[in-house]
Every structure is written in structure tokens, then in C-alpha cells.
């Protein structure tokens, strides 16, 4: 198989990795295209007989990180809507799927990527470590933490990194406490 045949063959997997990182289909398509351009430009640095898949996944990941750094100089990434993993809702369990999609978008991108590459692409922890340029223990820990966090969220726990929901909950609790004590809660809304 030639270098270019290998690039074409790995495109579906790159798309899945790109979507897991960007959380957005259009951004994922752009990321794959940019990563392919980088790979074509750097093809002389690929050593035949070594792990092409890991090499290609690392290029895409590095491109994502580099784009993210550039964007952070001008925008707050948290303001970008965590759009669209989900296909149009045609499944009977589409509500649970929507919840899963939202919970996934709250995970750190490295955990989301790790989970998807293991579950969807069937990678071993060793392959994941090579594709994401980290130690096997780190790869395993990312998958483990992603699973545990999703399980907690899907069973109803409040996401600890969801600042807005945490603030709203704290405000509600404070208002309830003041009402119970016979005080007005309006001043809390202004603080």
C-alpha cells in the first residue's frame, strides 16, 4: 500500500478522532483536511514500516492543539457552542442520546478523544498511547476518568465543571435558606 493509499484508508478514523476533539461536524471536516495537508507536506518524515496510523493520528491531534492555541488568543473557547455530535433524533432513546452527547461535550477533549478511540475504533491502551503521544498509564487513566465521569453525570450528579449550573444551584440554595429564615432573597440576585 502506498503512502497515499494509507492516507485515504485512514480518513474515516481521522474523522471520528476529529469529531471527538472538536465536537462539531463542520470543524471536524476542516481539521481532517488540515491534518491531511500537514501529512502530505511531511510525508518524507514518515519512516516506512513504522506505525502509520499512530503517526497520522498524532498529526491531527497536534493540528487541533495548535489551532486551539491560535483561537484562544482571540476568543474564549468556552463560548463556542458545544454543537453537534448527534444525528437527527430518530431513535426511541434519542433523549438519552442527547444527554450523552451533552455530557460528552463537557468532558476534557483529551478524555473524550481517548474514550472514543478505544470504544469506537477498538484501540488498545498501547495503541492509544502511541496515537496520542503519551504514556500507557496516562491513556488508561483518561479512558477510566471519562467513563467514571460520564457514569456519574448520566446517573444524575451535577457536573462539577459546569460553572453556570453550579452558580445557579448555589444561588437557589441561598435563596431558599433566606426565605426559610424569613428574609427577602432579592438582594442575592443583585450580588
Amino acid at each position: 500500500m502506498t503512502f497515499h493509499d494509507q492516507v485515504i484508508a485512514i480518513l474515516p478514523k481521522l474523522r471520528v478522532q476529529a469529531l471527538s476533539l472538536t465536537r462539531n461536524r463542520a470543524a471536524a471536516e476542516d481539521l481532517v483536511q488540515d491534518a491531511v495537508c500537514n501529512a502530505l507536506a511531511a510525508q518524507n518524515s514518515f519512516i516506512p514500516g513504522t506505525n502509520f496510523s499512530a503517526w497520522m493520528h498524532r498529526i491531527l491531534r497536534n493540528r487541533f492543539i495548535s489551532d486551539l492555541r491560535k483561537r484562544r488568543e482571540t476568543t474564549d473557547i468556552d463560548d463556542v457552542p458545544a454543537a453537534s455530535f448527534a444525528s437527527p433524533a430518530t431513535h426511541e432513546d434519542s433523549l438519552a442520546l442527547k444527554d450523552l452527547s451533552m455530557a460528552l461535550s463537557r468532558l476534557p477533549s483529551d478524555q473524550r478523544e481517548a474514550l472514543v478511540m478505544v470504544v469506537i475504533q477498538g484501540m488498545s491502551y498501547e495503541e492509544l498511547a502511541e496515537a496520542t503521544d503519551c504514556a500507557v498509564g496516562t491513556a488508561k487513566s483518561r479512558v477510566f476518568r471519562a467513563r467514571r465521569q460520564l457514569e456519574a453525570w448520566m446517573s444524575g450528579d451535577l457536573p462539577t465543571n459546569d460553572k453556570l449550573r453550579v452558580k445557579v444551584k448555589a444561588l437557589r440554595d441561598a435563596m431558599d435558606a433566606r426565605r426559610r429564615a424569613g428574609h427577602s432573597s432579592e438582594d442575592l440576585m443583585l450580588s
Partner: protein, 57 residues
């Protein structure tokens, strides 16, 4: 079996256990519903053209 093989096998046993739990099965099914379409979509012509042009340089 070397120590490295044993470690690898134990890590993969843990992975299998997690994937076979009820939540693991549900999660795997959900992730496939979210991601399989993307993997199976046709490759955009523009991207294929880019690769073929580089091949023919």
C-alpha cells in the same frame, strides 16, 4: 510470558471488564450511534482530489 506481557494482559482485562458492565454496554451503544454515521459518510471529493494531486506530483 514476560512481565510486560502480563501487565498488558491485565490492563486489557480491566478494559474488557469495564466495557462489559451494563453502563459500558450502554455507553458503547450510544457512542456508536453518535459516531458511526461520521465514519461511514463518503469522503468529500475535494479532499480526495487533494490527495490524488499530491500522488501525481
Amino acid at each position: 510470558m514476560t512481565a510486560g506481557d502480563k501487565r498488558k494482559s491485565s490492563v486489557n482485562d480491566i478494559k474488557a471488564e469495564e466495557q462489559d458492565s451494563p453502563f459500558g454496554i450502554w455507553l458503547s451503544r450510544g457512542l456508536h450511534q453518535l459516531f458511526d454515521d461520521v465514519a461511514n459518510e463518503p469522503i468529500p471529493d475535494e479532499l480526495l482530489r487533494l490527495i490524488e494531486e499530491d500522488r501525481n506530483k
